[in-house]
């Protein structure tokens, strides 16, 4: 998506969100009032509650839409990426079906980056859910966190400054993507999951999160050969826990001196 298109989309999303939030407040309030008048446990009460939850899902969608359009300033914090991976572990095992083997790996020592912790968790879960949906016949999915050092061509290819990055990679052995699908994967509302399958906001949210954190989302895939999606985030050194350090991370500033 071109930068000016993204900006126009953000403009539109911001304008509509305000009115939609008003509308949802009314729907939620009216439904909640109905539910209060109905006997808990009755079919009608359940219907009202389903309606309320649907409205709340709508509210969540608006929040994601705004995040995807990059108009919502993220809450940046220095976070331990390994702990973040550990935090999604239980949920990931619940999300992934039994016919898929799931492997999650993160280094034992902490890896720090500066990002919105909720955004990171959402991004990792989005990648895992996409991998699951792309693996309908069973197979394997892995999530791995590690550090890489980018120089010259490697950095330019990802439009990133040379430096040390924490990389979260989700691989699957699923159906893969065509070059056309890959090209459009991060467009808001683009989905291959059909009208009831997805919102088309998953990868666009992940892409938005990576950019907001000064990083990049890289996609590699071939039809029938699975996919590899990697979120690159600039590594932060805990010795200088300031935002400036994100811009110029150096290889030797890790306290233990060990970078893989």
């Amino acid at each position: 998506m071109a930068a000016n298109d993204r900006e126009a989309f953000g403009e539109m999303a911001g304008g509509i969100a305000h009115d939609l939030n008003n509308l949802l407040t009314v729907i939620m309030g009216a439904t909640e009032t109905l539910a209060e008048d109905l006997a808990p446990g009755s079919d009608r009460h359940d219907l009202a509650m389903t309606s309320l939850q649907a409205a709340e899902t709508g509210a969540e969608l608006i929040r994601r839409l705004l995040a995807a359009s990059q108009r919502q300033a993220p809450e940046l914090e220095i976070i331990d990426c390994c702990a973040a991976v550990d935090a999604v572990r239980p949920l990931a095992h619940r999300l992934i079906r039994d016919d898929i083997s799931l492997k999650i790996q993160a280094p034992v020592h902490p890896l720090f980056c500066t990002a919105d912790p909720v955004g990171l968790k959402t991004a990792l879960l989005n990648l895992l859910i996409n991998a699951r949906d792309a693996t309908p016949a069973g197979g394997s999915i892995s999530l791995r966190a590690e550090t890489v050092s980018l120089h010259g061509h490697g950095a330019r290819r990802l439009s990133l400054a040379p430096g040390v990055y924490v990389v979260f990679t989700v691989r699957d052995t699923g159906v893969g993507m065509s070059p056309e699908t890959m090209r459009r994967a991060t467009e808001p509302f683009f989905t291959t999951k059909g009208p009831v399958g997805g919102t088309g906001l998953g990868l666009s949210t992940v892409d938005g999160f990576a950019r907001q954190s000064g990083g990049h989302l890289a996609i590699a895939s071939e039809v029938g050969r699975g996919a590899r999606l990697s979120i690159y985030l600039p590594r932060t050194t805990p010795l200088k826990p300031r935002l400036e350090s994100v811009a110029n991370p150096t290889r030797n500033d890790w306290p233990g001196g060990e970078i893989r």
């Binding site: 911001g14 304008g15 509509i16 969100a17 305000h18 009115d19 939609l20 939030n21 008003n22 949802l24 407040t25 009314v26 729907i27 939620m28 309030g29 009216a30 909640e32 009032t33 309320l52 409205a55 709340e56 509210a59 705004l66 108009r71 919502q72 300033a73």
Partner: protein, 156 residues
């Protein structure tokens, strides 16, 4: 004494809904469609609590909050915002810095708003009660005393 609430929002449906839910709770509720009308009603009715939207045509919520808080007897204030702009969230922060007692991002459950209103108005009741020599914190002990009296009179 029944607490008075003023609801200011340019969205008719939202105003009606919030208003009817608050009336159900037994509050006396006035409504206004913008800050200008809201301030006029405030002067006439002196509500204990003002619930105001932030992004409105005519007079916006931020200015409304400033004027309400500048008065001699400022009310409790809950600010609401539907966000939607990059500053949308900041508006709620500003509202809070400028004196809103609570802030609420739309969409919210009306029960959350009612609970917030109840909390703020309880503070007012408690203060009023102390002025009148009645302390709500002592009420449970009085009730217990009355229970003991009844017991004493029944079985004594």
């Amino acid at each position: 004494m029944t607490a008075k609430i003023l609801v200011i929002d340019d969205d008719d449906h939202l105003r009606e809904l919030v208003c009817s839910r608050l009336r159900r709770q037994g509050y006396v509720v006035h409504t206004a469609e913008n800050g200008r009308v809201g301030l006029r009603i405030f002067e006439a009715e002196r509500p204990d609590l003002v619930i105001t939207d932030i992004l409105m045509p005519d007079m916006e919520g931020i200015e409304t909050i400033l004027r309400l808080k500048a008065g001699a007897t400022p009310p409790k204030i809950i600010a609401m915002s539907g966000g939607g702009h990059i500053v949308g969230r900041d508006f709620l922060k500003w509202a809070s810095h400028l004196g809103a007692d609570q802030v609420l991002a739309k969409p919210f459950r009306v029960s959350t708003l009612i609970a917030m209103a109840g909390d703020l108005l309880r503070d007012i009741d408690a203060r009023r009660g102390r002025l009148l020599g009645w302390d709500p914190e002592l009420q449970p002990m009085r009730d217990m005393g009355q229970d003991l009296d009844r017991l004493f009179h029944t079985h004594g």
